[in-house]
C-alpha cells in the first residue's frame, strides 16, 4: 500500500491514427486522435486524398466541358450537381429554362436525393453491424438507380444537365415506372423502419451521440439535413425557392431538439418520403413542351434548331473561307474569328441533328470549338441549390471569353467535416463510426 501512495498511477494520452483507409469509413480521410483511455481528448482531421483539381480543370475547357466533372463531385447524387452548375451559368448569362425543363430537373434532383439518403443511412447502419438493413437499403437504391438509368442512360456519371435545359426529355412510360419504383421503395423503407428505428442496439449507438448544438452548427456554416436535425429550420427549397420548388407542397423535417445522430438518421429518413412526394407532384403538374431555349430565351426543340439553321443563320459561315490547321488540331484562331455567327445558340443540338444534318453539325461545332461556344458576359454569379448534404453553391466568374475564368464549388459536406474535430471531443473511439456515418462525407465533393 505504501508503495502505491509513493508512486501514484500516472497515465499518459495516446496518439491514434485512424485512416486514411479504414473499413468503417466510406471515403478516404484520416483522423489523428489523442486518446485518454478510450475517450477522445483532441482530434484532427486530414482531408485531400481525393483531390483531383476540379476547379483548375474547370478553367481549362469551355463552359460545357465542366458538366461531366460536376458528376464526379457528389457521385451519389450527380443530377443535383449538374443542376447547381447549370443554374450558376444560367444566372450569369441571364437565361431562363422552359417550364418542362425545370420539372425534369427537379424530378431528377429529387430522385438523386433519395439515392443519396439511401446510401447514407444504408452505409451508416452497415457500419454499425446491421448488415441486413443495409441490403434492404441497397435494394431500394438499385430501384432508384434504374429510374436514373432509364432517363439518362447512366447510373452514376449522368451528365444530364445542360446550360439552358436538360439533355433529353423523360422517356415514355416514365410516370408508371416511377409509381412502381416508389411503391416498392416505400415498402422497403417500412421494413427498414421496423428493423432499425426502435432497435435497441441501433438506438443506443445513435441516441445522444454526436450532440452538436444549433449555435455551433450555424457558426460552422452547416446546412442541409445535418443542420435540420440540429434544429436549424432552413431549407433552400422552401426558404429561397429556385426552379419550381415554390409550386410543390412538401414538409421540411426538423429534429426534435436532441441534436444527435439519431435525429440525423430520422431527418434523412423523413426527407426521402418528402422527395418522393415532390416527384409525384411534378409528374402530375408537368406541362408538355420543349426542354431547351436558345440565347434569346425562345423555346426550341432539336428539329427547330435544324430549321433555324436552314433558314439561313449559317449564311455567313458558308461565305467565309476557313483554313484548317495543318496539325488537324483545329482551325487557326485568326481565321475562325471571322466566322462568328451572330445567331449563337446556347444549347448543344441533339445528336440526331449533329450527325444527320450539316446545319446541326455546324451548330454543334460552333458550340464546342475553342474560341467559340458559350461566352457569358464578363461578371460573376453565385448559383445555389439544396444538395443532398446541404447548400451546394457554384461561384462562376466570366471574363467574357468562352472559358470560365473561375469556377468555385462550395461543397456541402466541407463545413460538416470541418466541425468533426469539435464534435468528436469527449466521445469514445467507437462513436466515431456513427458520427462519421451521419456526416455523410462524400470525398468527391469534399476534396474536389
Amino acid at each position: 500500500m505504501r508503495a502505491i501512495a509513493e508512486h501514484p498511477l500516472t497515465t499518459r494520452t495516446m496518439l491514434l491514427n485512424l485512416g486514411p483507409s479504414h473499413p468503417s469509413m466510406h471515403g478516404v480521410v484520416r483522423f489523428v486522435l489523442e486518446l485518454d483511455g478510450e475517450s477522445i481528448v483532441k482530434a484532427d482531421c486530414e482531408i485531400g486524398y481525393l483531390h483531383r483539381g476540379f476547379e483548375k480543370m474547370a478553367e481549362q475547357g469551355s463552359y460545357l466541358t465542366v458538366i461531366p466533372y460536376t458528376d464526379r463531385l457528389n457521385y451519389v447524387s450527380p443530377p443535383i450537381n449538374n443542376q447547381g452548375y447549370c443554374i450558376a451559368v444560367e444566372k450569369l448569362m441571364g437565361i431562363t429554362v422552359p417550364e418542362r425543363g425545370e420539372y425534369v430537373r427537379v424530378i431528377m434532383s429529387e430522385i438523386g436525393r433519395i439515392a443519396d439518403h439511401l446510401t447514407c443511412v444504408g452505409a451508416a447502419t452497415m457500419e454499425l453491424g446491421a448488415f441486413t438493413a443495409f441490403l434492404y437499403y441497397v435494394e431500394a437504391r438499385e430501384i432508384i438507380y434504374d429510374l436514373i438509368e432509364a432517363v439518362t442512360g447512366a447510373r452514376l456519371t449522368v451528365s444530364f444537365g445542360r446550360i439552358g435545359g436538360v439533355k433529353a426529355d423523360l422517356p415514355d412510360g416514365f410516370s408508371n415506372a416511377v409509381h412502381k419504383a416508389f411503391a416498392r421503395t416505400r415498402e422497403i423503407l417500412v421494413e427498414c423502419d421496423k428493423l432499425l428505428s426502435r432497435n435497441r442496439i441501433f438506438v443506443d449507438r445513435m441516441r445522444d451521440v454526436g450532440v452538436f448544438s444549433k449555435e455551433r452548427t450555424l457558426a460552422y456554416a452547416i446546412q442541409g439535413p445535418f443542420a435540420r436535425a440540429n434544429g436549424v429550420d432552413w431549407d433552400l427549397r422552401r426558404d429561397q425557392p429556385y426552379s419550381i420548388y415554390d409550386r410543390l407542397d412538401f414538409e421540411v423535417p426538423i429534429g426534435d431538439g436532441h441534436c444527435d445522430n439519431y435525429e440525423r438518421y430520422a431527418v434523412r429518413f423523413a426527407e426521402m418520403e418528402q422527395s418522393m412526394r415532390m416527384v409525384e407532384q411534378c409528374l402530375e403538374q408537368m406541362p408538355k413542351g420543349a426542354v431547351a431555349v436558345d440565347e434569346s430565351g425562345r423555346e426550341l426543340t432539336g428539329a427547330d434548331l435544324v430549321e433555324e439553321a436552314k433558314r439561313g443563320h449559317t449564311a455567313q459561315v458558308q461565305e467565309l473561307r476557313v483554313v484548317a490547321d495543318p496539325t488537324l488540331d483545329g482551325t487557326h484562331r485568326g481565321e475562325i474569328e471571322q466566322v462568328t455567327c451572330p445567331d449563337k445558340h446556347v444549347l448543344l443540338p441533339s445528336k440526331e441533328a449533329t450527325y444527320g444534318s450539316i446545319e446541326g453539325l455546324m451548330n454543334h461545332f460552333k458550340l464546342v470549338m475553342t474560341g467559340h461556344g458559350l461566352a457569358p458576359p464578363a461578371g460573376e454569379a453565385y448559383g445555389v441549390v439544396e444538395g443532398a448534404n446541404g447548400e451546394l453553391g457554384f461561384y462562376v466568374v466570366s471574363d467574357g471569353t468562352d472559358r470560365p475564368y473561375r469556377v468555385r464549388c462550395h461543397p456541402p459536406c466541407f463545413p460538416i467535416v470541418a466541425a468533426i474535430p469539435e464534435i468528436l471531443v469527449g466521445h469514445m473511439v467507437a462513436d466515431i463510426t456513427p458520427i462519421f456515418g451521419m456526416v455523410n462525407m462524400i470525398a468527391g465533393e469534399l476534396d474536389r
Binding site: 483548375k56 481549362q60 450555424l218 457558426a219 426558404d239 461561384y395 466568374v397 463545413p415
Partner: protein
Amino acid sequence: MAETVACLRERFPAAILETHAFRGDDTVVIGPEALRAVATFLHDDLDHGFEILMDVTAVDYLRRKPRFEVVYHFLSHRRRERLRLKVPVDGKSPVVPSLCDLWPSANWYEREVWDMYGVRFEGHPDLRRILMYDEFVGFPLRKDYRVDKRQPLVGPVN
C-alpha cells in the same frame, strides 16, 4: 436586399471601393484594412446580422492590379439574404486578416485559400495546407501555375 449595402455605405463611406448587384447578387468591394471592421459590423452590430459565413474563396486576376481578390459569401437566415464581400489584395505578399474568431467556418476555408492561392490570413490559428500535401511547392490555382506541371511524388515522411 440593397438595404444592407446602403447600411454599409452609410457606416463605412471611406472603406467601400465599389458596389454592384450584377444578376441580383449584392456585392461590396472593400480594402483589406477595413475587412475586420466591416465583418465585425456584419456579425455583431447589424440588426439580425449575418450568422453564416458560407464560403471564402479567391480569384487570381493575373494581369490586374491588385492581383488577387478574396471573395466572402455571407448568408443570413434571419434576414433571408446573401451578401458577397470582395477584398482585393496585392500579388507580392497577399495578406488579409482572418475571420476565424467571428465565424469558425472561416478556419478551413481560409486554409484552402492559402493552400490554393497562397493568400495569408493574419491571425489564423492553424494556417496549414489542407488539400495538397505539405511538401507541395507552389499554389496550384494561381493562373501562372501550369495545369500540366508535375511535381515528384513525395513518399511517407518516416
